[in-house]
Subunit: 342 residues, 2 copies
């Protein structure tokens, strides 16, 4: 029986969900869809596996501990600074037994179908046990230009494929061609690796990261369930995503298709789509009155919001800030001075 250890990555600031998501309480720790926070929901859908390893920064530690609660065996790696996903995953890997399968999960995504996630996770773990480095290939429902794509190649058994090609965020024309062709899936940043294979490939393709992480772990210190890697050693790392550092280089890249109502909740429009909506497509959180509205999202932390005659508009009131944007404009929220200067 495969041992699956969830490795939950808690970084990022989520400025595109400003003013709800802020530096002081970012996206993973907010109840954006339903009652649970995205981090809590990530823990919940991994609860059938081994206790998780959470990798986070000092700034988010209090939120992580509060929402992690009492989970025997769970551990938290407190990164001295953010060095992107290759280093974060390597930290976890070096503290786990060689034969463990890591199920690497971002903590700020929404998965509407946890059962489908669990099935994909089992399939991915099986391939990882055979030595594959496995990405979840999220069924591409629309020609998104904000995601990388995985092109599936030869089948491996009944539930996976070799990855023929990793494709960076495409333009709209290419994205449409991918959807039409059908052999492409979104790269959702969820992975299954056996520890040994991951560390071997990292050492091979990014020896500098590997050496620095070995040192950071060797010279780190435990404090209860927390582990603090050595800051000086970690500082030397040039941050890189696991896709760049490992996945695009390895000869053992595989993917399992996953159709699990996934969303990265990358902006307010994506959040609107992930939420339950009424017959007019409206979604309301907090006190509000909508008249002649369609596909409107209202989210307020207190003040009443009255909206008349609008379509496809997002209104967010939070912490004394008011945001009003079109669906397209939602992409630009992170660049507002309110979001940028927190």
């Amino acid at each position: 029986m495969t041992i699956i250890t969830p490795v939950i990555l808690c970084g990022g600031s989520g400025t595109r969900l400003w003013p709800k998501s802020r530096a002081s309480k970012p996206k993973p720790f907010l109840p954006l869809v339903g009652e649970s926070t995205l981090f809590e929901a990530t823990l919940a859908r991994n609860a059938m596996f081994d206790p998780p390893v959470v990798v986070t920064g000092a700034a988010h530690l209090s939120h992580v501990e509060a929402q992690l609660g009492d989970r025997p065996g769970a551990s938290i790696i407190v990164e001295p600074e953010a060095k992107n996903t290759a280093a974060a995953i390597a930290l976890a890997a070096m503290r786990l037994p060689d034969e463990a399968v890591m199920l690497v999960c971002p903590s700020d995504h929404h998965i509407g179908d946890p059962q489908a996630f669990a099935e994909a996770a089992r399939a991915a773990a099986e391939l990882a046990e055979q030595g594959w480095l496995v990405s979840f290939g999220i069924e591409a429902k629309s020609p998104e230009t904000g995601f990388g794509y995985l092109q599936s190649g030869e089948a491996i058994g009944t539930s996976g494929y070799q990855v023929a090609q990793f494709v960076e965020k495409p333009d709209l024309e290419r994205a449409k061609a991918f959807i039409a062709e059908g052999a492409y899936a979104w790269n959702g940043g969820i992975f299954a690796f056996r520890v040994k294979e991951f560390l071997d490939e990292l050492e091979h393709f990014r020896p500098a990261i590997s050496v620095a992480v070995v040192k950071a772990v060797r010279d780190g210190r435990e404090q209860g369930q927390r582990f603090y890697p050595d800051a000086a050693a970690f500082k030397a790392i040039i941050g890189e995503s696991v896709d760049y550092a490992v996945m695009e280089n390895t000869a053992h890249a595989a993917m399992v298709p996953a159709d699990m109502a996934w969303s990265d909740i990358g902006n307010w429009q994506a959040l609107h789509e992930a939420r339950e909506r009424d017959a007019d497509g409206n979604s309301v959180t907090g006190p509000a009155e909508l008249v002649d509205c369609r596909n409107v999202l209202v989210e307020s932390d207190g003040p009443r919001v009255s909206v008349i005659g609008l379509e496809g508009v997002i209104v967010v009131v939070d912490g004394g800030e008011v945001l009003v944007t079109t669906a397209d404009g939602a992409q630009k929220v992170g660049k507002l001075s309110g979001a940028a200067n927190q």
Copy 2:
């Protein structure tokens, strides 16, 4: 030399400018265009005439007195209850000498060209001295369906016309025909009457109102600059507008054309049009950031408002309420539960 006494009517709630205009501080007392409140601006453009008579209700008295300031000779008639404009004007008339010319002005309109107002007022007062009951005919710039219209007939001297017909709020087709024909002006609710002629016509066409107001004034009491008509006598009145009660009946209805950048500031869209706008048509009051916006009005009493990608939208934040509406939707603001249940 004609004595002109401004009679300034301060009633109404202005629910269509909610949440800025509220029962506790309605439209006339707010600085909606420029630095002055609409009431203060009304006083200012009448300052070259005799001291004004202000007709208001007890609910607005404190605002009236605070904004009226120290104006020797000014007086305030405190209506026991609102009985529409015929009775309000009659109250003022019965406290003025017969030969005085009343210049009746609503206190919740904006007039962008006070010089043109002054000229029209002089012309109207001249006609009033000749015994005409004079309406200001506001140059109709567009086929508005929210106003009554005055059809001008035979010329009287060089600056006025007899009124051929009063037209109730028309539908759009009729309004367009009026604009095309050219002999129609908006009825802006501004009038010049000599006291004697007004009271004679009121007595003739609405003897019940006349008798009741005589009694209310006879049994009323003075208190400093305030005059309180008798409540019991006033209560008997069936409220009617001066248009219905007098103007549409009299054989002496006249009009003077007035092109004076007038607006009744009847809703947020009208206010937006009365305000100064930047090159993109945006108008901002309070802290705000607009990105890719055109013809957007933002008004905030404190919270920052960030708007992306919208056109022709109004965002108002006031007293813990947030309103977002299209230009067309602005007509419906008064029916929002926030506006209706104050």
